[in-house]
């Protein structure tokens, strides 16, 4: 009986919630995201309190380039969409297509991360805007960096899931794992929307 969950094919409609373990994972992960929300809320609060504390360092208005950030936003939003496609194919029990869309998600994720690293390097080299420059810079790198670290973690997670299950396909045991990884990816995306608004748009407008 226990081994049944490892059989692929003939899955029910919502394979991620077909087993008790799956339902537990599903619900537990939602709670985890609730906690993550408080984590980011605290970071946003800190950032808002310090966004004008630039001392002698550059201000956000001086350094933020909206073009680059807009591109990053588009990329991450698209990756969220592609992960939705992946979950759609999971529910249709089409493992290959799911892997394909997850692969696209991962590529987009890497593109986002690459641009973010480029952005940081650019700030440090061209503006002398490092982690220790001012309270504002510390708060900026902490908030955006925490998000970046979440993206990196998500990439490792999804890739390892894809590789682990590449040969055996979808089953009741790994379906919840794929599903919560995609939930996590959406969450990262939502956080980024807030970062885009609060940090970049509000920072640029003043």
């Amino acid at each position: 009986m226990a081994e049944d969950v490892l059989k692929s094919g003939n899955l029910p409609e919502n394979p991620e919630r077909a087993t008790l373990e799956g339902r537990n994972k599903f619900m537990g992960f939602w709670f985890f995201l609730g906690g993550e929300t408080v984590l980011f809320a605290s970071l946003f609060g800190t950032y808002l309190a310090l966004r004008n504390s630039t001392v002698d360092g550059p201000t956000g208005q001086e350094i933020f380039g909206l073009g680059l950030v807009f591109l990053m936003t588009v990329i991450l939003l698209t990756s969220s969409l592609t992960s939705v496609y992946a979950m759609y194919h999971m529910k249709n029990n089409d493992f290959k297509k799911m892997q394909l869309w997850l692969g696209i998600t991962v590529v987009l994720g890497f593109a986002f991360l690459g641009l973010e690293i480029y952005e940081f390097v650019h700030y440090v080299n061209d503006y002398g805007f490092g982690f220790t420059t001012s309270a504002f810079s510390t708060a900026f790198y902490t908030l955006v960096g925490f998000h970046g670290a979440h993206v990196a973690f998500g990439l490792v997670w999804i890739i390892s899931l894809m590789i682990r299950n590449a040969k055996r396909g979808l089953n009741l045991y790994n379906a919840p794992k794929f599903y919560i990884a995609s939930l996590y990816w959406h969450f990262i995306d939502v956080v980024w929307v807030f970062i885009f608004t609060v940090v970049y748009l509000m920072g640029k407008v003043g």
Binding site: M1, A2, N24, L43, V55, A135, T138, T142
Partner: protein, 618 residues
């Protein structure tokens, strides 16, 4: 994986059993041992504090050491004693009360314990590495940045590790309650201890991330030249206070709500009456938790937030007295008309009611914003929070330990010694803390290494120290009782207290799969319902069948160990960075192992269960 074969196992295999267990009952034992160890450690630190303050101008310990001791006393008692002891009770009882075979995430449950333990050990290593943290358990910036030794780094990283564990424990219990209840166990039939633990878990989930962030900011400032709290660089020290208390105030309710739950189990059992106003008790619990998030700034009335903020937080704080009052009266009226047996858990409950009422009184007094200008940071506050935390949480924890001891270990603590423990501890407690209210009003601020002789503070400080010895003797009696009881090893029946809830329907201690057949719950206080309306046995909800169980795992230990090692690398940096690489490597590797290796558990087969005889749950 085998079940009964472990009975006469050697030390090594028992150790391995506990290192790898994912059974909530064994994890409860681990939490209990860990929590009691740190409780004794924190208690010894308390004794040092009281001995230092026994006479004016005392030079018993140095100012620096005193600050370390007071910091570690607070930190240890809150994070490493009270929290794990509460988790011990939750683990031991909650799944049984809802008729579950296990918690929702046995693996994460075990991970939570090991993170707590390694975090606690990490924090305490500071004693041997140049000095413990010396800035108070609140670690206000910028004092926490001024502190020169690595003590505060140990504090930040140690609590970070332990905090992850707590967060995971919280999520685990949330899902357990929502998804794992037995047939018929509706929300409004859940025992109050389950309810309060559930709500406390909600609080953990939303409060601990604020601490996580606060500790990260502190770590960045201390170890990576961040500027969050550095006024020179535009930082703002008040951010820490907000983050700390956004966590810290709900934390108080995380500690007290499960204790309320314990008493809400004990009082009905020993009054032979159902809990008076069950639904209003549930409602009051939820309301307390909700308001608990709205009042953090009452710790900051003197910070200068302005009269508007102070007034709002003041009124919100007073509002919490209403649901708390509802609870007190409901307990009183549960006893009203009952048949009260003065067993030791009940005596703890009876000691709790007046003590906690006094703590609540002073709580409302403290909540009156302007008056707090006099109370704030004095011994009045010290007295207040010891009345609620010791008078509430600690009495609750010990009442719970004594009450559920038979269920956890299958033996019964000696009642006579329990009463001795209670009276020594209780009288000692009031001697220690009652007079501290007056010390505060008479002008003694808290966290004072010494007080001077010409200020009229001598007598009450002396009484307070004498009382502290009473508490210490009481605790010693308890420990003796534990040792004697376990040496004797006299077994007790499934239901030695004539109790009401589901956990008493299965043997003491329960088999590793808890319920042979899922129980059918037919009302609030299911066992009592069956005692009154049936044959005193819980009806099964399913035929005897295979039981799915989780596999044991060493991975949680390794994940925690990795973070523990990495902590040193992050702190000492330089050549020690290699430790961070090794530590994070171990953690990441263990997580990857967990993620990639299938772990689908195993089944206990029907035939094995039948062999064990009587298939009933009674």
């Amino acid at each position: 994986m085998s079940t009964t074969a472990d009975k006469k196992a050697g030390f090594g295999s028992v150790l391995w059993d506990y290192l790898t267990t994912v059974d909530h009952k064994k994890i409860a034992v681990l939490y209990l041992i860990g929590g009691l160890f740190f409780f004794i450690l924190g208690g010894l630190q308390a004794m040092l504090i009281r001995i230092q303050l026994i006479v004016p101008d005392n030079e018993f310990i140095s100012a620096q050491f005193y600050n370390e001791v007071l910091t570690m006393h607070g930190t240890t008692m809150i994070f490493l004693a009270a929290m794990p002891l509460i988790f011990a009770l939750m683990n031991a009882v909650l799944p049984l009360q809802i008729g579950a075979r296990d918690v929702a995430f046995p693996f994460i449950n075990s991970l939570g314990f090991w993170l707590f333990l390694f975090g606690g050990i990490f924090l305490n290593i500071s004693w041997f590495a140049g000095g413990a943290p010396d800035v108070g358990w609140t670690a206000y910036a910028p004092l926490s940045l001024f502190s020169e030794s690595h003590g505060v780094d140990y504090y930040a990283i140690g609590l970070q590790i332990a905090g992850f564990g707590t967060l995971m424990g919280g999520i685990n219990f949330l899902v357990t309650v929502i998804n794992m209840r037995a047939p018929g166990m509706t929300y409004m039939r859940m025992p109050l201890f389950t309810w309060t633990s559930f709500i406390a878990s909600v609080l953990i989930l939303f409060a601990f991330p604020a601490l996580t962030v606060g500790l990260f900011l502190l770590t960045f400032d201390r170890l990576f030249e961040g500027n969050f709290f550095d006024p020179e660089m535009g930082g703002n020290v008040i951010i820490w206070e907000h983050l700390f208390w956004i966590f810290g105030h709900p934390e108080v309710y995380i500690l007290i709500l499960p204790a309320f739950g314990v008493f809400s189990e004990i009082i009905p059992t020993f009054s032979k009456k159902r809990l008076f106003g069950y639904s209003s008790m549930v409602f009051a619990t939820i309301l307390i938790a909700f308001l608990g998030f709205m009042v953090w700034a009452h710790h900051m009335f003197t910070v200068g937030l302005g009269p508007i903020a102070n007034s709002i937080f003041s009124v919100a704080t007073m509002a919490i007295a209403v649901p708390t009052g509802i609870k007190i009266f409901n307990w009183l009226f549960t006893m009203w008309g009952g048949s009260i047996r003065l067993t030791s858990p009940m005596v703890f409950a009876l000691g709790f009611i007046p003590t906690f009422t006094i703590g609540g009184m002073t709580g409302v007094m403290l909540g009156a914003a302007a008056a707090d200008f006099q109370y704030h940071d004095t011994y009045f506050v010290v007295a207040h929070f010891h009345y609620v935390i010791v008078g509430g949480t600690i009495l609750g924890i010990f009442a719970g330990i004594i009450y559920w001891w038979p269920k956890m270990f299958g033996t019964m603590l000696n009642e006579k010694l329990n009463h001795w423990f209670f009276w020594l501890f209780f009288i000692g407690f009031h001697l220690t803390f009652f007079f501290q209210h007056f010390l505060g009003l008479m002008g003694m601020p808290r966290r004072y290494w010494k007080f001077l002789s010409d200020q009229g503070l001598d007598l009450f400080n002396l009484i307070s120290t004498i009382g502290a010895f009473g508490m210490a003797f009481g605790t010693i009696v308890f420990l003796i009782n534990v040792v004697m009881t376990q040496m004797k090893g006299e077994k007790v029946s499934a239901d030695p207290w004539d109790a009401r809830t589901l956990e008493w329907a299965i043997p003491s201690p329960p088999p590793f799969y808890n319920f042979k057949q899922e129980p059918l719950v037919r009302g609030l206080d299911p066992l009592w319902v069956e005692k009154m309306q049936g044959d005193g046995k819980i009806k099964p909800a399913e035929p005897l069948g295979d039981i799915h169980m989780p596999n044991r795992s060493f991975v949680p230990f390794m994940i925690s160990l990795g973070l523990f090692i990495a902590g040193f690398g992050v702190m000492y940096q330089g050549a020690m960075w290699v430790l961070a690489v090794i530590g994070f490597g171990i953690t990441a590797g263990s997580m990857l192992h967990r993620s990639l290796k299938d772990d689908i558990g195993y089944h206990v087969h029907k035939e094995e269960l039948e062999e064990e005889g009587d298939g009933s749950n009674g």
